[in-house]
């Protein structure tokens, strides 16, 4: 291909792409600043930030996000490690399992959760605490494709076997190997998975709504029903948060296969 020819066709499509991305964002920003007729103001943002319900929902979802990250790391890290080290033959089956949340849409999933855990013998939905446990488990499952994949990719880039053998020859048991040797080397992969998981939990609607817990998603939806400008402000804030999380992720994983990190596939 000649090196100095400018491909106008390509340029056009790139510009169209940029437009499609930015117009709705700009429109939302503009709309969110017009709560007071005739001039730009941060009124909509102020109202939202002062709303105690907003603060409670945000706190709830943030805490849930952190819990989800910790629990999924605690479950998936040893799993990925074990598969790499001892049970490579299980990998295809496990990979299919991690893809299940893609095959079962969230609305169907919550349907199943309610049917199973909304009645004896596994009744969990009677108490707020029980429901919180259920919703946390649900979040972990929803985050599974991303978290597992992030850890798997990270694990592949370090020589697990040699590190383990070196640590064992120095007297470490399995737990110590995981925490002292493997974990520090997977910091970036773990952080990447954590960021995606956190962003996902913050924006999640269905589980929070149908299991009737005060998450940010249902709060936003309710806002959308009765208000005009506050939803736009909420959308901008939500977008900014996602942007920060995923921007951090991009920054941390620069150079590696970003596609897999971001799509989980």
């Amino acid at each position: 291909m000649t090196t100095h020819k400018v491909n106008w066709w390509a340029f056009l499509w790139a510009v169209l792409g940029l437009f499609y991305f930015f117009l709705p964002l700009y429109g939302t920003l503009d709309f969110s600043l017009r709560m007071i007729r005739g001039r730009l103001s941060l009124q909509a943002y102020q109202i939202v930030l002062a709303d105690p319900q907003f603060l409670e929902s945000f706190r709830y979802s943030a805490v849930m996000g952190v819990i989800t990250v910790v629990v999924s790391a605690a479950i998936f890290l040893p799993t990925v490690y074990w598969i790499h080290l001892r049970l490579p033959q299980v990998r295809p089956a496990v990979e299919v399992l991690t893809l299940l949340p893609f095959m079962i849409p969230v609305i169907v999933y919550v349907f199943g959760l309610i049917r199973t855990f909304g009645r004896p013998p596994f009744l969990l939905t009677l108490t707020p605490l029980g429901t919180d446990v259920l919703i946390a488990a649900g979040y972990v499952i929803l985050a599974m494709p991303y978290m597992y994949r992030a850890l798997d990719i990270g694990m592949r880039s370090i020589d697990v076997r040699t590190l383990t053998e070196a640590a064992q020859s120095l007297g470490a048991n399995v737990f110590q190997v995981l925490v002292n040797v493997i974990l520090p080397n997977l910091r970036i992969a773990l952080l990447g998975g954590a960021l995606i998981t956190f962003a996902m939990v913050i924006g999640e609607l269905v589980l929070g709504d149908f299991l009737v817990r005060p998450a940010l998603g249902p709060y936003m939806e309710q806002m959308g029903r009765d208000h005009a400008y506050e939803p736009a402000a909420l959308a901008m804030m939500s977008y900014a948060l996602t942007w920060v999380c995923l921007g951090l992720l991009q920054f941390l994983t620069r150079g590696s296969s970003s596609q897999q990190q971001l799509t989980g596939r």
Binding site: L16, L100, G112
Partner: protein, 309 residues
């Protein structure tokens, strides 16, 4: 004598067998968790699809799927999914082409790749709000278009781009399609851009060298090599749209019949009059999406063969 000769070997076998078992212990937590919180609820649902109100095995629930109301939901879901996956897919392909093979300026490429990563995950409720703020009755773009008026020769004010006057409505299928495309085309960009980059430039040069034009190269080499990737990505887009719920509900409040909306209504209050039929609807959805994902995986592996560097 014989006993002592036997003892070491049985001990060793017992130790070995124990070792084999402990090997599986490492992934037990994972399996237990997934079993409890993914497989169990799902299976429970699917079993319910095959049962009647008294718990007996029946296929009658699936006949209920042919009911006009349910069928319409499926059809509309399929329609939206096909349209957005094809339109979003094509648009995404062109954008991906622009930033890889097409050699658009570097800065455009970085921005588009970064934002594709962001937008592909930016769905749900905020997306609906963003589009309402942009194309709703009093949206940003709507207002701009409405203000592009001029007075014609008869002295009458004419506003050709007044969207809502001309019949456009964000809260319809059209609006939903537009909103879905917002996360569909970035997903396509993310999946297809690496595949496009793996197209070796020597192939194009070799084709040119043998007399082929750009179009012939695409027809004979590039597209045949890419089509598994393209098809797989489109399937993924299809599944993504088919299972989407939050945006649809936040945007239309459930007024558009979609399979996901139907399931949500069924959960909230048995609109179908038969809970088992609701399970059947859910089961049908899962079958469709599983097929898509399975095909996608199969096609990805085919692509990997040819595009391995």
């Amino acid at each position: 004598m014989a006993g002592s000769a036997l003892a070491p070997s049985t001990e060793r076998t017992r130790a070995l067998r124990l070792g084999a078992w402990t090997k599986w212990l490492g992934i037990a937590p994972f399996f237990v968790f997934v079993l409890a919180f993914e497989i169990l609820p799902s299976l429970n649902l699917f079993v319910g699809a095959f049962q009647d109100q008294d718990g007996r095995f029946t296929l009658a629930n699936f006949l209920g799927l042919l009911d006009h109301f349910v069928l319409k939901s499926y059809m509309v879901s399929l329609q939206v999914s096909v349209i957005t996956s094809v339109v979003g897919g094509l648009f995404g392909f062109m954008v991906a082409y622009a930033i890889t093979v097409g050699q658009a300026p570097r800065w455009m490429r970085s921005i588009l790749m970064t934002f594709s990563g962001l937008a592909a995950n930016f769905g749900g409720v905020p997306l609906a709000f963003a589009f309402i703020a942009t194309l709703g009755h009093t949206g940003f773009l709507t207002a701009i278009f409405r203000s592009l008026c001029f007075t014609n020769s008869a002295g009458v004010q004419n506003c050709p781009l007044d969207l809502y006057q001309n019949g456009f409505n964000l809260y319809t299928l059209t609006g939903l399609t537009l909103s879905y495309t917002y996360f569909q085309f970035p997903l396509m960009v993310l999946i297809i851009a690496p595949a496009l980059e793996s197209l070796r430039s020597e192939w194009r040069e070799a084709a040119e060298n043998l007399g082929a034009s750009g179009a012939q190269y695409w027809r004979d080499v590039a597209l045949p090599v890419l089509w598994p990737s393209l098809l797989g990505a489109t399937l993924l887009l299809f599944a993504s749209a088919f299972g989407a719920f939050a945006t649809a509900e936040a945007l239309t409040g459930g007024s558009i019949p979609l399979a996901t909306i139907l399931v949500s209504q069924q959960i909230r209050g048995d609109v179908l009059g038969n809970p088992n039929e609701g399970y059947a609807v859910a089961f049908g959805m899962v079958v469709i999406m599983s097929l898509c994902i399975a095909l996608y995986i199969f096609l990805q592996q085919r692509t990997a063969r040819w595009l391995k560097r």
